[in-house]
């Protein structure tokens, strides 16, 4: 009343004037990023991947492209298919993390990057097999990977996580071990009477 509310408001802004600014200078300083951050640079371990394409199947946008071939693999002995392509089209990815959640063998992890602008759309397609060959540094995010959180692993520290150190998470619907089974007898058992025609 009588302008006192305005004076009170002026004092509030003056108080904030002398306070430290809440913002930071982005490229030089960075906001604290938490280890669960869902970002680009998916970490993918070829050693673990069986090419089951669960990630591609459950991706809401269908942007994961996988090609496998049974050649040179002894399937009945439990070998996995040979992977010929594993691409993720980051341009359309919305980082929901479902591919990571459904991966039965913990072969795929979210990454922590968020500034991957490219000049052409083709550069936005992550060729994970090429990355694997080049031995790119893998620092997976701990999103849906409680075993990494238990290790207190911080992806932004830059330490590389080897595929056999990454551990397994224990969601009920994930097998604890890669099944080593006689695929031919399994097939005969399950598909004896159906699917033949």
């Amino acid at each position: 009343m009588y302008g006192l509310g305005i004076v009170k408001g002026l004092l509030v802004t003056l108080k904030n004037f002398v306070r430290k600014p809440a913002t930071i200078n982005y490229p030089e300083q960075r906001a604290p990023q938490h280890s669960r951050f869902r970002g680009e640079e998916f970490a993918w371990y070829e050693e673990r991947c069986t090419g089951c394409a669960s990630c591609a199947k459950f991706c809401p946008l269908g942007i994961i492209h996988i090609e496998t071939s049974p050649s040179e693999a002894n399937i009945p002995e439990g070998d996995s298919y040979k992977l010929e392509a594993f691409d993720i089209d980051i341009a359309r990815c919305m980082f929901c993390g479902f591919c990571v959640e459904v991966c039965p063998y913990d072969a795929l992890f979210m990454g922590s990057g968020f500034e991957e602008a490219q000049y052409s759309r083709q550069d936005l397609v992550l060729d994970k097999i090429k990355d694997q060959r080049e031995g790119k540094n893998k620092s997976p995010s701990t999103w849906f990977r409680p075993q990494l959180e238990a290790q207190k692993y911080i992806p932004l520290s830059g330490t590389e996580m080897k595929w056999d150190d990454a551990g397994r998470e224990e969601w009920t619907y994930h097998p604890t071990k890669r099944p080593k089974r006689d695929l031919l007898s399994w097939r005969n058992k399950n598909f004896k009477n159906k699917g033949e025609n």
């Binding site: 009343m1 802004t13 600014p21």
Partner: protein, 402 residues
Amino acid sequence: MLSENLWFHNIYCFLYTGDTAISGCSNATGLLPESLNWMPYYIAGFSMVLVLINIFMAFGALYTYAERRLIGRFQSRVGPNRAGPFGILQPVADGIKLLTKESMIPDQADKPVYNLAPIIMLIPVILVVAVLPVGEGTFMTDLNIALLFAISITALTTIAIFMAGFSTGNRFAMLGAMRAVAQLISYEVPVVLSTVGIILLTGSLSLVDVVEAQAIPFILVQPLAFLIFIIGGSAEMNRTPFDTVEAESELIAGYHIEYGGMKFAMFQLAEYASVLINSAVITTLFLSGWEGPFSFIPSPIWFLLKMFFMAFCFIWIRATLPRLRMDQVMSFAWKFLLPLSLINIFVTAIEVLIFGVNGTFTQGDLWIISGINIIVSIIGIVIFSKILEIDSGFNTQFKVTV
């Protein structure tokens, strides 16, 4: 008149060679030969004009930077800090960007008026610098109607805004122009009336005389006039809480919505320079101008310090307050400011009759007057707030039945 001007006098005498009786200089020989003794007058004059105008325009450009930076701090941000050290070159970068833009003219625009408006907007701001006493003996001219000149010249911006708003043919711009005409003319009245008290006290319209008459700053002697002048001033500069003319949340940019490039830059420069000019006028009228408590600091510095303080206050207000609605802006001018300014004139006139025996006032008289005026202003503000019910919406919330 010019001989009182120290800058002019010194430059003139430095150059002039000839009769000391004509020039009024102490020494008879200057830098230029005697055959060229018509030149020092023009050189001295032009150099003063150049220095003052350029300083004010440069400050206007710097003020854009300062405002963005300070508002950033008020808002808990950093503000522009990329161009140059602490971002001080931001106005230069903005200027280069705006200069290199294509000059676009809308199809529907009235082209001559459209092109003329930014120029007319900028000219009054520059003209006011002519009468501002920046320091002791530092002014371009000591006009005997300087106060009237300053107020009437700044009123010219109304025409520029109107031209800009109507010539573009944009409806938002037209709304802004309509608002501008109504608002600026309304606020002219209380602003002029608030200065009458000062004229009564000093007995002169010259700004130099006004400064010299301030034994104590007139902000204490005329608190009501100061309040009205600062409110009316922000209304005339279209700054919050009276920025209905631009109103970026309603009219996007108001009258200069269709302007781009250099023309837009001129509008911006005029707007920001007008804040500085207004602060300078307030400094002269109410904060005792170039006079300061310590004489070892030169008088122009005092003036600039006070001016920057006022400019800071305008930024502070802008960073804090929401905007009034158009009809509230108008009723505030006519129902609140106008009666208060009339009361101020009435009270001051009586005081001048009682104390001003010879037309001059001792410091003691001024203190008594200031005491009376502060009490009067508090009572006046309280009574008129009650009448207008400012805290519950001016009593003017109305819905038109369609």
